[in-house]
């Protein structure tokens, strides 16, 4: 990674926020991203498969035709991506997403 980050502070100093109290999404290093072109229930428009919903240890994926991931709580373990039979879920580095946001 060649890019240099512009950090607000080079030490561990930060402003108080609402607190992470259980909002485990901030622990995540990798973010799951669903490709609905490959996702079985999304593609077939019917309630089917839901392997991601079944295997998610934190219960943060909805059992809906367009499965949605609650990023406030998803820890980024990657089990959904591992279990998805069509390989519809990709784990993307959060760092890359922060970089994109900065640009």
């Amino acid at each position: 990674m060649e890019k240099e980050f512009k950090f607000a502070c080079k030490k561990s100093h930060s402003e108080p926020g609402p607190g992470d109290g259980g909002r485990t999404g901030s622990w995540r290093v990798l973010r799951p991203i669903i490709d609905y072109e490959k996702c079985i229930p999304a593609k077939k428009n019917k309630k089917a498969c839901f392997s991601c919903w079944l295997f998610c240890p934190d219960g943060v994926i909805t059992k809906t035709k367009m499965p949605a991931i609650d990023l406030e709580y998803c820890k980024g373990c990657g089990i959904c991506a591992e279990e998805c039979p069509t390989g519809a879920i990709t784990m993307v580095e959060e760092t890359l997403l922060i970089m994109e946001k900065e640009e």
Binding site: F5, K6, F7, A8, C9, K10, K11, S12, H13, S14, E15, P16, G17, P18, S26, W27, V29, E94, T95, I98, K101, E102
Partner: protein
């Protein structure tokens, strides 16, 4: 003005001149007279500072960490097992980037108990992220305390000023007391780049995740590894800062001028004895003696151990025939820590000197002039080679 005082009082007067605002310390031999002097100065109203008595060294440094976080100029002092008891807080102070200054009055570590001098206490803390300065006499103690505050506050890294227990701490010697107006010019009031303010609460040094993350405003906040890299980078940059500070100090006070290596008869020497602390001044007498015998040897006192001035060492000694490293400490199971560092610093030089290692004076074992002269006579020969195992001086087996 010249005064005659002990090394501990020299340190205390340096802290007074630096106008430290908070002092927390726990007495331990041979540091005790230093903290006693500071408590007397505060009690007598000669220092406008808070002296906070504590029940342990761990608490002493914890108090300093809290005080320094609020932007106060903060000082503590300890020795030997007291320093080790601070260990967890030592790493914390460095990681939190707090410009605390601490005198370490060097003493051997128990077990078995010893109260006498060696360097194992501060050397064992070399990787805690603190800058380490070593003083050779009382003048250097008081001067180093002033330089330490300026250095710590410039680079946001805590600084240890190390000096030999008893040999310097309890002996009396004349030294020049810096004038207060000169000190003010050299060491301006501390203006922290950031400090804890009840009106504007902040999180300091919270659990930091392995990777970077957005802060509460959505800006990228560094992860643990970036924060550690910053500490290392700033430690390396502090080598330049130390050079600048030494130059300024010399301009204002007319003393010093040797930021890393203080040489004595080194220029025309083929062989150089290298060590830290008061021993480098003791060795000057030995060098004079050997010069009279026709041996081209000099002595260099290393003033900064961390950050390690590797380039200064390589530049100063790569063209010499031999380096003899004397150490009052040991990396057990390996060799002298300074010895290993010096060899690493010279490794990139194609034409490097042999380097030998002598361990001496542990737990206050007397160091005799004749012993130093003997090992230098036997080492300062073209046929000498680099050793991996240190030899011990004065060991009675």
């Amino acid at each position: 003005m010249y005064i005659i005082e002990s090394g501990n009082v020299a340190a205390a007067l340096g802290v007074k001149l630096a106008e430290a605002a908070v002092i927390a310390a726990y007495p331990i031999t041979p540091q005790t007279p230093l903290t006693e002097k500071l408590s007397e100065l505060v009690d007598a109203g000669e220092m406008d500072a808070q002296y906070i008595p504590v029940e342990s060294e761990h608490s002493a440094l914890a108090v300093c960490i809290a005080a320094s976080s609020t932007g106060s100029r903060t000082f503590t002092a300890t020795s030997a097992n007291g320093l080790l008891y601070m260990n967890e807080q030592l790493h914390w102070a460095a990681g939190a980037r707090l410009p605390i200054v601490m005198c370490v009055v060097n003493r051997g570590i128990g077990a078995p108990w010893t109260v006498w001098n060696d360097h194992q206490d501060s050397i064992s803390q070399r990787d805690a992220g603190w800058i380490q300065l070593y003083a050779c006499d009382h003048q250097q103690i008081i001067d180093s305390v002033l330089k330490a505050f300026r250095l710590a506050e410039t680079v946001s890294v805590p600084v240890m000023v190390c000096y030999d227990g008893y040999i310097l701490s309890h002996t009396y010697m004349p030294f020049e007391l810096p004038e207060a107006d000169q000190v003010k010019k050299f060491l301006p009031a501390f203006t922290p780049e950031y400090f804890l303010d009840p009106a504007c609460p902040k999180n300091l040094n919270t659990v930091t995740l392995p990777d970077i993350r957005p802060d509460v405003r959505g800006n990228a906040a560094p992860g643990y590894m970036e924060i550690r890299h910053n500490l290392h980078t700033d430690m390396r940059k502090s080598l330049d800062v130390i050079t600048d500070i030494e130059k300024d100090f010399k301009e204002i006070f007319g003393r010093g001028g040797y930021p890393f290596i203080e040489p004595y008869r080194v220029n025309d020497a083929d062989y150089v004895a290298l060590c830290m602390g008061s021993l480098s001044y003791h060795l000057r007498d030995v060098i004079d003696m050997l010069r009279d015998e026709g041996i081209a040897v000099g002595v260099a006192g290393l003033r900064v151990y961390r950050p390690f001035p590797d380039k200064a060492i390589a530049d100063a000694f790569a063209h010499k025939k031999g380096l003899i490293v004397f150490e009052k400490a040991l990396s057990y199971g390996n060799q002298g820590a300074l010895f290993a560092d010096v060899k690493a610093a010279l490794y990139a030089k194609a034409d490097r000197p042999f380097v030998r290692n002598y361990i001496l004076g542990l737990g206050g074992r007397e160091i005799q002039t004749s012993q130093l002269a003997d090992v230098l006579r036997s080492s300062c020969r073209p046929s000498s080679t680099t050793t991996d195992t240190p030899e011990w001086i004065g060991l009675k087996l």
